[in-house]
């Protein structure tokens, strides 16, 4: 039986399609360098250079998994944080890798302090040719030379930093994302300036900060979906926000004083704005890879793809930090049912896009079983706006069934959800984070 599709999908991993821009910079030649983390199933991560009229004039995608940044070096090469591969690479314009952190420590990827990069997010070249790397899952920012010698590091009371920006005075501006703070630290590791009291009201998961020429600090306050300019004495003097729930990631200031912003998994675009908040340039060539089905399809997992994934479902590995897999409970009667096995702090999803009309209420149900879940597992539903961005600021705000932890035998789940305003379609997901196994069977959904 052919399912009814109301919105088509497009092939995955086509070079040049920007699915999730995470970092952006304006190059001296006027082009824009964009780091694209790829689609939800883990395809299509690349670094693209786009000219002002939108032609892709250079790209690099070989082996990248969830790459978070690409920075053009003074020698013309490009420095890339290949995040899910836990490595840093430098590639030439003809796409030859000249430095890979995997080669450090005699080919085992070890730094001089015995550690290994873990989920590196950002890397900049410093004046002396060394790199300043934000090593997220090691909760630190490090300065390393091109051979992996750690020259300096900052690891005091920061949690999952995403960006460390070198300042002209030698200090470093760190985005302590899970700490909801921005810190300016000096070389003696003293905090000389900070913004944010840890509460999400002030800053919620800030992803980047830059110091402007006027001495103020421009902060990308991601989960509050805004960009704010803060004076040295902590006053907010300018703000940019759109009508959407944009999760801005990295903001770059151009030499003309405009701001380039990566609008990420939400809206799949890079925008350039001026001080009036007007969008003066935009790059977007996103096409949604997964179709939208007229109704829940193959909710009983009877049909399988050749690769073993349930038909019409997507195994979304983008946030899985390189771990996890689809598993099957072969003993389930009358036929096997799928599950997710996971082993690290990120998350893994099995998901499907389903048409949903604003204002309608749907009842959802399924049976769920968990084994040793350390984080949380649940069935939840996300809704997307007309730019393909989630309507929710945070995953825990999405309508969901029970959050399961530990081991639970088969449990019936039923919850109701009202399709929120501005929604164009729903994405139903089985989710697991941290570690453990979750199985699901008999998913049903109907309008009430």
């Amino acid at each position: 039986m052919n399912p009814e599709i109301v919105g088509p999908g497009c092939p995955r991993g086509i070079p040049g399609h920007v699915e999730m821009p995470l970092a952006v910079e304006r190059l001296p030649n006027g082009n824009t360098l964009i780091a694209d983390a790829g689609d939800e199933a883990g395809f299509g991560s690349e670094i693209v250079e786009v000219d002002p009229v939108g032609n892709i004039v250079w790209d690099y995608n070989e082996g990248l998994r969830f790459a978070h940044s690409g920075r053009r070096l003074r020698n013309g090469n490009t420095l890339i944080t290949d995040t899910s591969n836990n490595r840093l690479i430098e590639v030439t314009p003809v796409k030859k890798i000249v430095i890979s952190s995997d080669e450090w420590g005699g080919g085992i990827g070890k730094l001089s302090d015995g550690s290994h990069l873990h989920y590196p997010n950002e890397a900049f070249e410093l004046e002396d040719g060394t790199f300043l790397v934000t090593d997220r899952n090691n909760d630190r920012c490090i300065q390393v030379d091109r051979k992996g010698h750690v020259i300096w590091l900052y690891d005091k009371e920061i949690k999952h930093p995403h960006n460390a920006d070198p300042l002209p005075n030698g200090n470093i501006l760190i985005s302590d994302s899970d700490g909801n703070r921005i810190l300016e630290v000096n070389r003696k590791k003293e905090i000389v300036w900070s913004y944010g009291d840890g509460s999400p009201k002030t800053l919620w998961w800030p992803r980047s900060a830059i110091r402007l020429e006027n001495g103020n600090t421009l902060i990308t306050d991601s989960k509050n979906h805004r960009i704010i300019e803060v004076s040295p004495d902590g006053k907010t003097i300018w703000k940019f926000q759109t009508e959407h729930v944009d999760k801005f990631y990295i903001t770059h200031v151009t030499k003309e004083g405009t701001f380039l912003i990566a609008c990420t998994d939400g809206h799949h675009q890079v925008i350039e704005i001026d001080r009036t908040g007007n969008i003066v340039w935009l790059f977007r060539n996103y096409r949604r890879p997964a179709p939208v089905y007229a109704r829940l399809t193959n909710g009983f997992f009877k049909e399988l793809e050749e690769n073993g994934i349930p038909k019409y479902w997507v195994l979304a590995t983008r946030l899985s930090e390189g771990g996890g897999r689809l598993i099957w409970d072969e003993d389930n009667k009358p036929y096997p049912c799928p599950g997710l096995e996971y082993d690290r702090p990120g998350a893994l999803f099995l998901q499907q896009n389903i048409a949903a009309k604003v204002g309608e209420t749907y009842r959802l149900g399924a049976e769920i079983k968990t084994i040793d879940v350390k984080g949380a597992a649940c069935l939840h539903i996300d809704f997307y706006d007309d730019f393909g961005g989630s309507l929710y600021r945070d995953i825990t705000e999405m309508p969901s069934g029970e959050y399961f932890t530990g081991t639970n035998d088969w449990t019936h789940e039923i919850f109701e959800v009202k399709v929120p305003p501005k929604s164009t379609f729903a994405q139903l997901r089985l989710a697991i984070n941290h570690s453990g196994k979750v199985f699901i069977r008999n998913i049903m959904m109907n309008k009430i």
Binding site: S222, K247, F300, L319, P334, R363, C378, I395
Partner: protein, 281 residues
């Protein structure tokens, strides 16, 4: 017997005001529909009993009989609810129809957890299963399972509307009981669809919080099912409802800071915190 809770005079006035708002909704419904076109859903639980009590007040004031009232027999009821329903039915003269999906009950041999074979069901029930995406040959007979819930509650509800040609149906829903209800309207028109007759849902007590509701029970001495004294806060089927706090009456629990839909097995907050750590989403 009224619930034992001290209610100040000021609070009593507040509760009366909430009831007055509800009565206005009921009066409006009586203007829109003829009495015989209206129906009431009742479960014996706290929300639908308050709704029924308020409708009865308006009917007495207008000197008309109560609209036809349905209660769903799921085959897994608390004896305490059955007793309460029986008593109130007599005292308030409720024109009660006990509605069941006999076809499913028969296929399950009237036994909880028995396996129901889809091919043994009537054409209507098979069509209903198809409508919700049910794709299996059999299911266990449980009212709280998805298929069970649909056949035993939703289908029976739609059949009640159909059979009695009901155009407006009262429901005891409240805004604060479920996030999906936050912007439910007092009157919601439902166009006819596949197996669903056209009707309007009328929800007179939407604005009551759980605390408002218990204070109103205390203040106006409204009868209630005594299971709530034992610590239940939300009543569903017998085998799946759980006591929130053993021996602590529902109105004495920390109702503003804890979940009404009872018996959460998980440490939800902790799990949410871990999920929230997943920055990207």
């Amino acid at each position: 017997m009224a619930i034992d809770k001290e209610i100040s005079e000021k609070r009593k006035r507040q509760c009366s005001k909430l009831v007055e708002i509800s009565k206005e909704i009921v009066r409006e419904a009586l203007e829109k529909f003829k009495p015989e076109e209206l129906g009431i859903t009742w479960t014996g639980g706290k929300d639908s009993t308050l709704t029924l009590w308020i409708i009865r007040q308006v009917c007495q004031e207008k000197e008309i009989p109560l609209p036809k009232t349905m209660i769903i027999g799921e085959g897994d009821e608390f004896e305490e609810i059955e007793e309460f329903v029986e008593r109130i039915k007599k005292e308030w003269n409720v024109p009660l129809e006990v509605c069941r999906n006999e076809d499913v009950l028969k296929a399950a041999n009237y036994t909880l957890n028995a396996v129901v074979k889809v091919k043994e069901l009537s054409e209507r029930n098979r069509a209903e299963l198809q409508r919700i995406g049910f794709d299996d040959d059999e299911f266990p007979f449980e009212a709280e399972s998805y298929a069970g819930n649909h056949l035993m509650k939703t289908v029976v509800f739609n059949q009640f509307l159909e059979r009695n040609k009901i155009k407006g149906i009262f429901q005891g829903l409240r805004w604060d009981e479920h996030p999906a209800r936050f912007d439910d309207p007092y009157f919601e028109f439902k166009a006819s669809g596949n197996l669903v007759p056209e009707h309007t849902r009328i929800r007179p007590i939407l604005h009551f919080t759980e605390k408002d509701l218990w204070d109103t029970y205390a203040s106006l001495k409204i009868p209630y099912c005594r299971l709530y004294e034992r610590g239940y806060r939300s009543l569903g089927a017998k085998t799946t409802s759980q006591i929130s706090m053993e021996g602590v009456p529902a109105w004495k629990q920390d109702i503003e800071n804890t979940e009404e839909r009872a018996g959460r097995r998980q440490d939800k907050e902790k799990a949410m915190e871990r999920m929230r750590k997943l920055g990207y989403m």
